[in-house]
Amino acid sequence: MLDKLSGYLLNVDAEYADIRYEKMTKTEIVYNGKELSKIGTNTTDGYVIRVLKKGGFATVSVTKPSEVEKAFELAVKNAALLGDACDKKMKLEVPGKTIDDVILDLEEDPRAISIDEKLELLAYYNNLVLKQKDVQSTAMRYSEVYRDKFFVNTVGSKIHEQTITTGISGRIICKKGSSVQDGRVSIGGSDGFTKLRNRDDVFLKKAKIVSELLYAEPAVGGKHNVVINPSLAGVFVHEAFGHFSEADLVENSPSLLEKMQIGAKLGTDILDIIDDPTTKGQIGYYKYDDEGVPAKPVLLMEKGVLKGRLHSMQTAAAFNDKLNGHCVAEDARYEPIIRMGCIYIKPKNKKVEELIKEAGNGYYVLDSKGGQTSGENFTFGAQYAYKIENGKLGALVKDINIMGNLFSTLKNITAISDGIEFCESGGCGKGQVNIKSCHGGPHILIKNAVIGGV
């Protein structure tokens, strides 16, 4: 395949070009409540072409191999048009020639396990949850995404990389009278099937909490001190800060860029933030991004000072910065865009109990229910929380959504715990869905966070 792809590049009239062929084999098994609603393994594929010409960088994606040559013609035409029309000519920081073949290194290869065994495991967890108190329904999904990616460019790079992401995730819905509560659960990773076995505790714990939420009081809206757990700290650092370390989101926004200058003091002295797709086992692991650039760990913030950004070839050139391999596509329909690989806050020395004590009064908020960002503002939902009263944990509360401003919130992080946990499923929706978007962290204390309540 690599040689076939190289052949397409021979006669391209451009300063730079690359082509990616991606074949994706997806196994999905879905339960809605007691009923199985989907099962099967299917394969899709396609080609993504990118061309730099006259200062314009254009992309075309196609399904059929018979369309590839025409796609190059269109990409060359669109790149030239873009180059003529844009104010600032685009340049690329092109990586050196790389030839590599990255095969999977797994504890237990999910592809070698029969679909019947996968179904049996999913059914086991689903039934386990359905038997718990107040559980009305579930939506449980086994998802296995195996990607076989082939990348070549006009520099002569030829890279083949396989990745596989395996997980079980779902919703637990409890009901009492007309009150409905739901919670999310997920297990999985990129290092094999073993991670999915013997995880009853995860499902049982969440089913119990969702049931208890039916009887819990709602959170009181307003400004509160909050201690957030690793799952939420991960979403927080992803939403509140991570997206602004993605160079494409600040490159053409002068007012944001002004605030996000390297060297700017944005957070408290205890805050170190890193993105590292190369940490093995976590769901975001990869060796090369979809531009054929080797992934590298990036120190984004050190002692509250902005130190680095995540780059594509285009933004690395625009910022005169080094490549770090953070440009990833959802699948063969899309061009790669800058993504976080595995972002986390570096743990410190304090115990969780100390953070709760320091909070005084407020909430101990746990587990993510999704987040969103827009410039300096962000929100994220939490699945549940406990009151903190006089430095001690109190009653369970429901309906927690936190909103904040990037710049003020980073300065309100006053304590960070020891220990670190990474999420076991990803799902960032910045234009394209990235199921390999990993995040994590320790517990953190944020002073004066805005809680929406309901």
């Binding site: 997806k26 199985l36 609603s37 989907k38 099962i39 099967g40 393994t41 299917n42 899709t44 396609g46 314009g56 254009a58 992309t59 075309v60 994606s61 196609v62 399904t63 059929k64 191999p65 369309e67 669109n78 790149a79 048009l81 873009l82 029309a85 844009c86 104010d87 679909i115 329904s137 819905i173 409905v180 739901d182 809206g221 989101l249 490159e251 053409n252 926004s253 007012s255 002004e258 699948d331 061009e335 229910k369 999704g370 960002t373 827009s374 410039g375 300096e376 503002n377 962000f378 929100t379 939902g381 429901k398 309906d399 959504n401 909103m403 401003n405 805005v450 929406g452 309540g453 309901v454």
Partner: protein
């Protein structure tokens, strides 16, 4: 397609082949400069088979091995996914005007020129950063099945949007147009956008309280998302809907009428049949505040033993490859019937309130229960009938089955918005924090 169906139907009780292909182009501008031109040409096939009351599915993009695709669908029958329904038979779908052949002649050069024209109109009138996104293309879908169904449609679409961003933020004020072919953004709409943006330049801070809130059309999806969950046949079947037994009851303000109308072909994406080939219909969900109907696909119509409503679409909360998705009940063509007040009259009627121009975190919170808790992004503070500034950080929260009882005003015109065709709506007593 026909060969694939022929092979499949020899081996099962019934079979369906779904084919879709699309070509589209996207041109993005950031801060008045073009940053991106990208094109997609994608296609794929999905095969569904039913045997002994079970359903099997397979899909692919490049159809290289028809027999293999059939074998794969039959393999998935072993999982015993209930398929206790049949595919629709032959009929002639409602004729709709969904395709303008001129789209084929539209070039990126032409579109680029019209974006520049619209952007320059804004540039001369405001200092804010302008981003714009424009897309155009065509989509074809064809469905055939072993019961004789053979239906297809072609859509053309042109979508253009502009947003002026507040400094340091991606919160902004937007305007957009959606049509079946090239269309300039109307100057009057761009002027409204500039006016609202300018009024929000001043930042104001307000204390947590219960307040009047106007939702702009583009933000109403955050409330209707909860209603869609509550009226979905899947939620009814799974007994997770809080309004399961409330057909015929007054659940919202009598000012509110919500209709799903796939036949409204003055806008793009009208549909005469859904992704299972079932004829679509105009479905009243809420009439003067009274809950009238739930919506379903073939699977959930059979499970609830009701007639299919033609709302089975291959989509998912976060998108995905069309052919890979199973049909699921979806309200894809929502409209809200306009009211009596002009937008300016709605503002004038507010003593103390917030105009919500964008929502952050609409996907968070307890959606099945109808709860919402969204960041206002941006939000404008209104006092004594005048917009006095922009509220930087704040959330509004509530439950739609409570808040949507308190509609005090509905705009007298509708706009193309995220999630449907809506007017602006004022709600009383919404919690702001």
């Amino acid at each position: 397609m026909e060969k694939l169906l022929e092979i499949a139907k020899q081996k099962v009780d019934s079979a369906e082949v779904f084919y879709t292909s699309y070509n589209d182009n996207t041109i993005n501008f950031e801060n008045y400069s073009v940053t991106e031109i990208k094109s997609q040409s994608q296609s794929g096939f999905c095969l569904r088979v039913i045997k002994d009351g079970f359903i099997g599915t397979s899909y692919t993009k490049n159809l290289l091995d028809r027999d293999g695709l059939v074998v794969n669908a039959i393999e998935s029958l072993k999982g015993k996914v209930s398929g206790d329904f049949d595919f629709p038979g032959s009929y002639v779908p409602k004729k709709l005007d969904t395709y303008d052949p001129e789209i084929k002649n539209l070039s990126c050069e032409q579109v680029l020129a019209s974006i520049k024209k619209s952007n320059n109109f804004v540039k001369n009138k405001t200092s804010g950063q302008l981003n714009s996104m424009t897309g155009f293309g065509e989509l074809k879908t064809k469905i055939i099945n072993s019961n004789g169904l053979d239906v297809e449609f072609k859509h053309s679409d042109y979508f253009a949007s502009q947003s002026i961003m507040y400094p340091g933020s991606y919160a902004g004020v937007s305007t957009q147009v959606a049509a079946k072919n090239h269309q300039l953004l109307p100057e009057v709409e761009m002027m409204k956008m500039i006016d609202l943006y300018t009024k929000g330049l001043k930042e104001v801070s307000i204390k947590p309280s219960t307040i009047q809130v106007i939702f702009l059309p583009d933000v109403l999806y955050s409330l209707l998302w909860r209603l869609e969950s509550g009226t979905n046949a899947k939620s009814i079947y799974e007994k997770t809907s809080p309004i399961k037994n409330k057909i015929g009851e007054q659940i919202f303000s009598d000012k509110l009428t919500v209709i799903d109308n796939p036949h409204l072909d003055i806008y793009p994406y009208a549909r005469g049949f859904d992704d299972e080939g079932v004829p679509t219909q105009k479905l009243t969900v809420i009439e003067n505040g009274v809950l009238k109907n739930f919506y379903n696909d073939l699977e959930y119509a059979a499970k609830l033993d009701v007639e299919p409503t033609g709302h089975g679409y291959k989509n998912a909360m976060w998108g995905g490859e069309t052919v890979s998705l199973a049909p699921t009940p979806t309200l894809g063509h929502l409209t809200i019937v306009p009211g009596k007040d002009s937008f300016n009259e709605m503002i004038k009627k507010i003593k103390r309130g917030i105009l919500v121009g964008g929502a952050l975190g609409a996907h968070s919170g307890n959606i099945p229960n109808g709860d919402f808790s969204i960041g206002i992004n941006p939000g404008f503070y209104i006092e004594d009938g005048e917009i006095v500034g922009r509220v930087k950080d704040g959330m509004i929260a509530g439950n739609i089955y409570d808040v949507m009882k308190r509609v005090s005003s509905i705009e007298n015109e509708v706009h193309i918005a995220q999630g449907g065709i809506f007017p602006a709506i004022t709600f009383e007593d919404v919690r702001f924090s």
